[in-house]
Amino acid sequence: MVIRSVIRSIALTVVAVAVAASPAAAQVDFQGQWGAVNHQEAMGRGPGPDLADYTGLPINDEARHTALSYTAAVLGMSERGCMFYTENYLLFAPHNILIERVNDPVTGDILAWRISAGGSDRAPITVWMDGRPHPSPNAPYFFSGFTTGHWEGDRLVARMTHMKRGIMRRNGVPLSDKATMTLHLTRHADILTIMGIIDDPMYLEEKLVLTGSYRLNPRGNAPATNPTCFPFTELPVYDQAGAVPHFLPGTNHDADTFAKQYGLTLEAAYGGAATIYPEFRKRLQTTYQPPASCTRYCCGGGGLNLQASGINCRAR
């Protein structure tokens, strides 16, 4: 009898140790309403980037030429009106988000985390945590992609495949359907940081890394679901056969507007892997001519009320 009790006790001990030693089902709780902290790229995330501003993007020539052929008029087509809303939009959108935990109703285990669209036309991201495999490369691709997650310490790592063709920046820099994205969700106190690493063999010379931070906001109201982009005809002329708005090579009249506005060379304005590293500054030192003073979009970001703050500055 005593021996049986000892064996049972040891067994209980082993179970207790195993529970304590193995990663918990949820090592960090990401649930809640998160307010976007737009303290970088406020213009790009809010009103939108300048035309032909590809700074900071390690894009290749193919992406650059595709971007220069882009005109926002293409969004008036019912066929292309939703092309902005692949899941990587999370990384350069200004919106708040809601993160929900999806539990298995029987076991209580975490089946998935769901990151809302934040009121945008993007679909919510479902991060499957139950070990299911990614679909075959030949399976259908969706705007919502397919995402699985795992824990690395206290960080949630989510890998997305099967995205549709989309954009990397809201001025038409393309993202191909060969792209994959890895999200790293890290929480420190009430700040959530999402770092995305995008790999696109079609349009990137090297991986694109983007980051954004969010502050826990108990009064937030980002919806769990909202209608994802619904295509419709904005201008009937664009839905006529053969009418795809675009610029032919060499005809984009805004190809150098941004560069001239900010005293940059076209090489700098057009991005590329070489331009995102410190040594590129040497190529700018003799050519860069900053504007005498800021004339547009000089303030803003972070939800400030400029007028109430006593700040007198061009916010547009």
């Binding site: 303290h39 700074t55 890290t186 700018l284 900053p290 500055c313």
Partner: protein
Amino acid sequence: MGITRVGLVVMAATLVFHDDAFAQVRGRGAGAGQAPQTARATAPIDLTGTWVAVITEDWRWRMVTPARGDYQSIPITAAAQKVGDAWDPAKDEAAGEQCKAYGAPGLMRAPTRLQISWLDDNTLKVESDYGMQTRLLHFGTWKGGGAASWQGDSVARWEGGGRGAGGGTLLVNTSNLRPGYLRKNGVPYSANATMTEYWDLITEPSGEQRILLLIIVTDPQYLQQPWTVPVHFKKEPNNAKWDPAPCNAKF
């Protein structure tokens, strides 16, 4: 039949041993009679090596000096705008203040490489080639003080770790800063500014390593709310591209 006394002893001993193992990984310190664990010995992540800032965000505000009066994205106060509007880099240089944009709050968003190494068992050294600055991150019971400086007094500790691969964060609090610029075009921070940093290490399946650094700058005089910005660095195989350059107030 309940758990026997022998079983309880086995369970207690196992849990004590187990907790001690966690404690060592998490750097809680040594048991009675043992020498205190050093920060280097208890580091849950290895940040040493050469790292390069990858400027994929705010390129126009980080890679080059933006125009006077460009405060976009920074939650400035009216007092900060007044100082920023009067920015004069030539005057800064003449006053020997050409490093005002190279203090810790500005430096960590700069286009720089970092060399990170252990100065001693409880001090992590962070050097930049941009402006040739050195930050010392002090663990343990170190107390700062003395004159304010560009890099201020930084107190560090490890957080987390020990519960799986990739865990652990370096938390750094910096104060006693000499007033400087958050941005090269004279967006100011005051002597009362403090900076909190969370350093996380990310290892990709390819083996590539990146630092995800969350920076939170608080300044009651010049910021309406804490300026909260993540930045990232990529590890380099060596320091072949290390290119020290002194502070430059204009470019």
